[in-house]
Symmetry: C2
Subunit: 137 residues, 2 copies
């Protein structure tokens, strides 16, 4: 029930970006160094964060990365889902592929899992990067 | 952020036991068949559930497994923790070994993770097997 390292690194990269002056372009190296993320893994993650619309990249000598959308529109939940797919506290809550057990139609555990799942999704979605607590002192 | 298969199987096995007549001893085979759990994996899990005090086993022809404690004292949380260790939504919330990042002392994300973690632990702990919803119809 633990976040993947990839998603954790993506969130750290976003936290770094949130703390930069507006319009500043950040390089892979400075993000990697500040956040303690292996450079090659970070490069892959930043590419995915661009592809999924969280960051934009600029080529050339003055190139680098910037946030591509308002901080208020970036939540823990949507970064995590972009990095590791839909959040599922148990595989059985995935209605299309998840449950393959013998009690599928009248599972007694499923209602509990659905509630826990809903709370996790709610909590992760409620954390957005416009929260002033993300600003480092 | 997903439950391990081992913990899921353990919970299914407990659900099976909860639905048996009191004092009935259940065999590995009947639990495996009812719950669709591979027999060898289940045998290992049941052994661990005995070792951790959730089940007791009886040898011999009339042998089998029974719950070792009241249903009200078995929660999702403590079965999961017995099977896969402490629940951690992100490795950084493990205060002794978890966080190894560059901002350890003034991490801006940690307070959010701790809150989400606390909610998950609360929700998993609140589900106990004396809930009548666990009785199969």
């Amino acid at each position: 029930m633990q976040l993947s390292r990839k998603a954790d690194y993506a969130l750290r990269a976003i936290t770094f970006m949130v703390n930069q002056p507006e319009n500043k372009r950040s390089s892979i190296s400075e993000i990697a160094e500040s956040e303690g993320i292996p450079r090659d893994f970070l490069a892959k993650i930043l590419k995915e964060l661009c592809r999924t619309g969280f960051l934009k990249s600029f080529q050339g000598v003055t190139g680098g990365y910037q946030l591509a959308r308002p901080k208020s529109e970036i939540s823990f939940l949507n970064v995590i889902e972009a990095m590791q797919g839909e959040v599922r506290v148990n595989m059985c809550v995935d209605e299309t592929n998840g449950c393959s057990c013998n009690h599928r139609d009248k599972c007694t555990m499923l209602p509990f899992w659905k509630k826990i799942q809903a709370n996790v999704v709610r909590d992760l979605g409620a954390v957005t990067f416009d929260d002033p607590k993300f600003i480092r002192k």
